[in-house]
């Protein structure tokens, strides 16, 4: 090995033409390229051409070579286009389908052949690509060819090409509408696909345009013309709503299958979207109401499913959901309330149970239909995603909100009626409980329910088990806040019965059921002060004292007050004709028992015996002696008014249809209105307290706030209980200002400050 030899680093001189002129080398190279274009490359030596290109590049002739090559390619393309492609161009688009196809097929073949040639030229020029084109950041030879193809062939024939393709596609659609199946042959599909592939290979405009011809030029056109086609070329006349919808489905299905087999997925998605949007914002919008009616009346869940899955369009889906809600609300309004009957409670209960029945129907219908998912409902600002439950829920809420107080009262009345019935059904009650969360004035419901519960419990018109079940269900549905007092009421009843057990055995002349009630839990405020001074019959007095002793033994820190107003006395009495169990108020009972020892007593005497205040005594005597329904006592003289001198005795001739008789204390009309007012002011009071708390909670961290914002936030905070009115809110604010929790801004009355 002769390692010491000096090595030259210049270009090896043996390369042919290395010293020759460029034009000579180019002529030789051109001859080789000509062979490529005349399809006789087997006559050409690759090595010779490569060396030629190599030496041209090494001798820095790259720029010239590029220019010449470009000219050569364009020239070649032009002449072969004129030769093979031009004669096939259909003179106009009115030409028959067959000509159009011929043109497309020829075009495809033309491209295939030219691309193959570009590839061969590029192979020959590989050194040129690598050394010159890459260094100069200019398109490589193959891309140069494609660009030439684009500029000399595709652009001049752009309209012919595009229109021809759209023509055959629309034609296939026409036939697809009729035959409902594909009409293109495999060959035709492959030609189209190959043309699309060509469009995806060449760039749309400039060399460095990132878009290729397909996305840049053809696709927008295809989309435009397709939506035009679907807007104008479909005949909907004589179709019913349902048929229209069926046809839309079929067409979308056709288009999907058609396009997915033809163009890239991205593009076909776009096209399907355009198509569905054309329907959804057009024809479908007109018939949506009709279709929803159809769905709801025939309870067609599949149709609903299809309606919902046809488009992802938000507005459409909202329309759909709102449509369904509307339908449900409308249906709820059709429930009739019997306003004629005197039994208001029964009518209300019927109304509620009708409602619940419909609710259940819709609930089970909608449960299987996953149509409302991920739809922004109109209550979306609350951030909860709309689901089936909320579609029905919204409909119910809207319905209830129409007369919120009445709804709350009716629902409570339903429970009252049910629970007083001999065998209430847990399932039915449970269903109605489901409706509670849709009430807007939940506190009203709880208030009414509390009243009714207390009456049920004290008058023993219900079972503890059933009540407990109900309270638990209400708790599940509305939260423990609402049921705190209800539970405490129940607890009182149970502790009372335990207390009774702990009483010493006394002479069993009568049954005694004491009920110890926690003041705060029960819905009554003012007890009668005179209860403590009443004179009781000896036996009762004894029992009372026993109980007081037992109670104090057990809870020695607690104060026990008697509320006879709430008590009840039941007396069995044998009249001349029949014997009856008379249930009456505690006061009435005291009066009646006074006759146990004397046959005849004056009003004055009765007062001495019982120590009842005059007003109460008169009221009870009116009930027992004047009111036409009972007449247990006879009054002398028989007038409508009670005087202190009047005498009374037991009406031995009294008789009634049933054995047990409930004697209801007569209530004068003005006391009724008092009670209602009482109840309302009670509700208002509670609301003010809750509102106060809410305002403080909001204002405390943010220190100051504008009236409207504060109101909105407070409204949101108490929403779970009731709908806050401006009136309540203002009252609450005034209250807080009085108490110096809150201060108005001296400069801006709209702004409130929290005072620390």
């Amino acid at each position: 090995m002769a390692l010491s030899k000096r090595i030259k680093i210049t270009v090896p001189q043996v390369l042919a033409n290395s010293n020759g002129k460029f034009s000579d080398s180019w002529l030789v190279l051109k001859e080789g390229l000509d062979k490529i274009y005349t399809d006789c490359i087997e006559d050409v030596s690759y090595q010779d051409l490569y060396k030629l290109v190599y030496s041209l590049v090494i001798n820095e002739n790259g720029e010239l070579l590029y220019k010449h090559l470009k000219e050569y390619l364009v020239e070649r393309l032009t002449s072969s286009m004129v030769e093979t492609l031009m004669p096939e161009i259909p003179p106009n688009q009115e030409e028959g389908l067959e000509q159009t196809w011929t043109f497309l097929i020829k075009f495809d073949q033309f491209f295939e052949r030219e691309a193959k040639r570009f590839k061969l030229v590029a192979d020959v020029m590989i050194y040129f690509d690598k050394v010159y084109c890459n260094a100069q950041r200019i398109p490589e030879v193959f891309d140069l060819g494609l660009n030439a193809f684009r500029d000399t062939v595709v652009f001049p024939l752009k309209d012919n090409l595009n229109e021809s393709i759209i023509k055959v596609i629309n034609n296939a659609r026409d036939e697809g509408q009729i035959k409902r199946s594909f009409v293109l042959e495999a060959v035709q599909i492959s030609v189209l696909k190959s043309l699309f592939h060509m469009m995806e290979t060449i760039s749309a405009e400039k060399n460095d345009d990132p878009n290729h011809f397909y996305t840049g030029i053809f696709e927008p056109l295809l989309i435009e013309r397709s939506s035009e086609y679907y807007r104008n070329n479909v005949d909907w006349t004589d179709y019913t709503a349902l048929q229209t919808f069926e046809k839309m489905g079929a067409m979308i299905k056709f288009e999907k299958a058609f396009m997915e087999g033809l163009i890239n997925p991205d593009s076909s998605h776009k096209l399907i979207d355009i198509l569905t949007n054309t329907f959804v914002s057009g024809k479908l919008k007109d018939i949506l109401g009709e279709l929803i009616n159809e769905v709801m009346t025939s309870k067609d869940r599949t149709l609903l499913q299809r309606l919902s899955s046809i488009s992802e369009d938000e507005e459409y889906r909202r329309d759909l959901v709102e449509g369904v809600k509307d339908y449900i609300s409308r249906d709820f309004y059709s429930i009739k309330l019997d306003e004629v009957t005197r039994k208001k409670a029964i009518a209300a209960a019927k109304w509620v149970s009708d409602l619940v029945e419909k609710f259940e129907q819709y609930s089970s219908f909608l449960k299987g239909a996953a149509f409302a998912e991920s739809i922004p409902s109109n209550t979306a600002n609350e951030g909860h995603s709309s689901s089936i439950a909320s579609v029905l829920g919204d409909a119910t809420s809207n319905f209830f909100a129409d007369d919120p107080m009445q709804s709350a009262q009716f629902v409570s009345l339903y429970f009252d009626v049910q629970l007083k019935a001999s065998k209430p059904s847990k399932a039915e009650l449970g269903n109605v409980v489901m409706l509670l969360k849709f009430l807007s004035e939940k506190d009203e419901f709880v208030n009414v329910y509390k009243q009714q519960l207390s009456r049920r419990l004290l008058h023993q018109r219900t079972t503890i088990d059933m009540e407990r079940y109900m309270i638990n269900r209400i708790k599940d549905e509305m939260g423990s806040f609402f049921t705190l007092k209800l539970e405490s009421m129940l607890r009182d009843v149970t502790t009372s019965s335990e207390l009774l057990k702990s009483l010493p055995e006394h002479e069993k002349q009568f049954e005694f059921i004491p009920q110890v009630l926690t003041m705060t839990a029960w819905p009554f405020q003012n007890l009668n002060d005179f209860d403590a001074d009443l004179i009781l019959p000896r036996e009762l007095q004894k029992v009372k004292e026993n109980l007081e002793v037992a109670y104090n033994k057990k809870y020695n820190q607690r104060v026990l007050n008697w509320a006879h107003k709430l008590g009840l006395i039941e007396i069995s009495y044998r009249f001349e004709k029949s014997s009856h169990d008379l249930a009456m108020s505690f006061y009435a009972g005291l009066i009646f028992l006074a006759f146990e020892e004397q046959d005849e007593l004056t009003t004055e005497k009765l007062q001495q015996l019982t120590n009842l205040p005059e007003q109460e005594l008169v009221k009870q005597l009116v009930t027992l002696a004047v009111a036409p329904r009972y007449r247990i006592l006879l009054k002398e003289p028989n007038t409508k008014t009670i005087r202190m001198t009047d005498t009374f005795r037991v009406n031995e001739r009294y008789t009634a249809a049933t054995k047990s008789v409930r004697i209801q204390t007569v209530i004068s009309p003005n006391t009724i209105s008092n009670a209602v007012q009482d109840k309302n002011s009670q509700l208002d009071k509670e609301r003010t307290i809750v509102t106060n708390a809410a305002i403080v909670r909001i204002l405390k961290p943010s220190r100051q706030m504008i009236f409207d914002d504060l109101f909105d936030q407070a409204k949101k905070l108490v929403e779970q209980r009731f709908t806050l009115t401006k009136q309540t809110f203002k009252r609450s604010i005034d209250h807080l200002i009085d108490k110096e929790y809150v201060q108005r801004d001296p400069n801006d009355h709209e702004v409130y400050h929290y005072i620390t």
């Binding site: 390692l3 000096r6 030259k8 680093i9 043996v14 087997e42 050409v44 030596s45 192979d123």
Partner: protein, 515 residues
Amino acid sequence: MDKNFNTLCHACRTGDLESADRMISTGVDLNQVDKFDNSPLFLASLCGHEKVVKLLLRSGALCDRDRQEGARCIYGALTDSIRDILLSYDISKATDMNQPFAMHLSSLLVAPAIVTYDMELNVAQGHLPAHKFMLQARCPILNDNRGYDVQEMFGNWFDLDVDVRASHVLELFLKFIYLVPILHTITAEDYDYLIKIAQKLEMNMFAEFMNKVRHVADPSEKSSMMISYQHKFTNLAKEQLKHFVDKYIIDSAVLLTGEEKSIKEISSCSFSQHTYPDVLLSVKNHENELKIYPCHLAVLMRADYFKVIFTDKFSETVAYQESKENRGDGCPYPILELPTFDLFVVEIMLRYLYFDEANIPWQYAMEVIKLGDFILADRLKSMAATVVTQSPKVLERYTIFQILYFAWETRLERLEHFAAKQVAGEIRALKRSKSFREAIVKSAQRISSREETDTIEFVDDIRFYLLEKYRLESDDIWFLEEETDQQFLKESGLLDYQYDVSLLNDILQELGLEA
């Protein structure tokens, strides 16, 4: 060998990927340690050269967490990403630790770009295509002129049991010949037959491996044995191919001087009967001697140039197919003609293509680069460039600027930087140099044709290496400008640096260039 290993270690420290690649190609054991007990993998991980780490792992460097050496690599890894690479490196993946030539040979069997088979092995379920030269090179029994012939031996598949002809065992064998990593796919039933074949063909190491490994039960021991043997097999194959190239290609090549013989008359009988060529490589050297090397397209097509020749149906392809179909009838081989090169340079190329030979004497490196450029073999080019930059003597032979121009011509950034570094080193001696000025002007002209940046690349590079020369960072300059202590400035090298920079700036000003 030791020197190569030290160079490899240096490359691992500095992150010189090309140099590391070249040293790995020389076949050094990657799992030895230097005098400080550091393995190349440890060095590369510690210094944070992710690409070198990957190359080492791919080439068979072991990183076994259970051993101290492997654990050191993982703990020492500079970046999380290197640590993740080391941790995720799984022994089972060690299969692709092949060197590039081995990968190429495997691809001939698995997915050839061009079909170049010249024989078929008959098996029960058909034929397995193969290359005679591969069998010749890889089966020791065929060597040493003992009178065996590939065709005969494999044509009727020597007298072994018929069962052996079950295709999958033969396929395994053939894959082994072509360096497809199959060691882990050999099943217990295959061993008997494969050992028989290996012994018959005198493939002793293969037989030895199978005899050992069949008795090993522990999977981790088994796989580490496979890794180490796979490495050995690759190196053995390299030796075998080297032997083949030396004996049957280079020694067998025909030198034509003057007019005594024409290229056309060369036929199969001109070479050793064991070469089994399918193309002839013809080269003329600077002394106008013409030498014809009998070669194999299967290997030559590793270089893109040779591959592209036969990709399309140019006259070469036609000739190749014709010649293949009529091998017996004295049909001439297709000829591949290279431009004028020193014959030794061509032989370096052949060695590189056949077995990744990376030993390039520096005297030839420049011409190897040129040839590599011509045949579109970038890896060969950069290997030779590494040689240039690592051989100080090159500068005795060529001027810095010759190297620079050569670098531009062959697009080797490594050489450009090398030249810039040299200029930076000797800038004071060059301050009046005319060639230096020419070089700067030329570099500036390169910009105008590129319009890529506003700076002169060559000048930028020199500035960079000036900083390096005085071990300064660009931040230091800004910092030191505030400094007034002359003694300190002198010691820091800033004054020298500033002087060098002013020299450069003066020249630029003189040339009317702004950079």
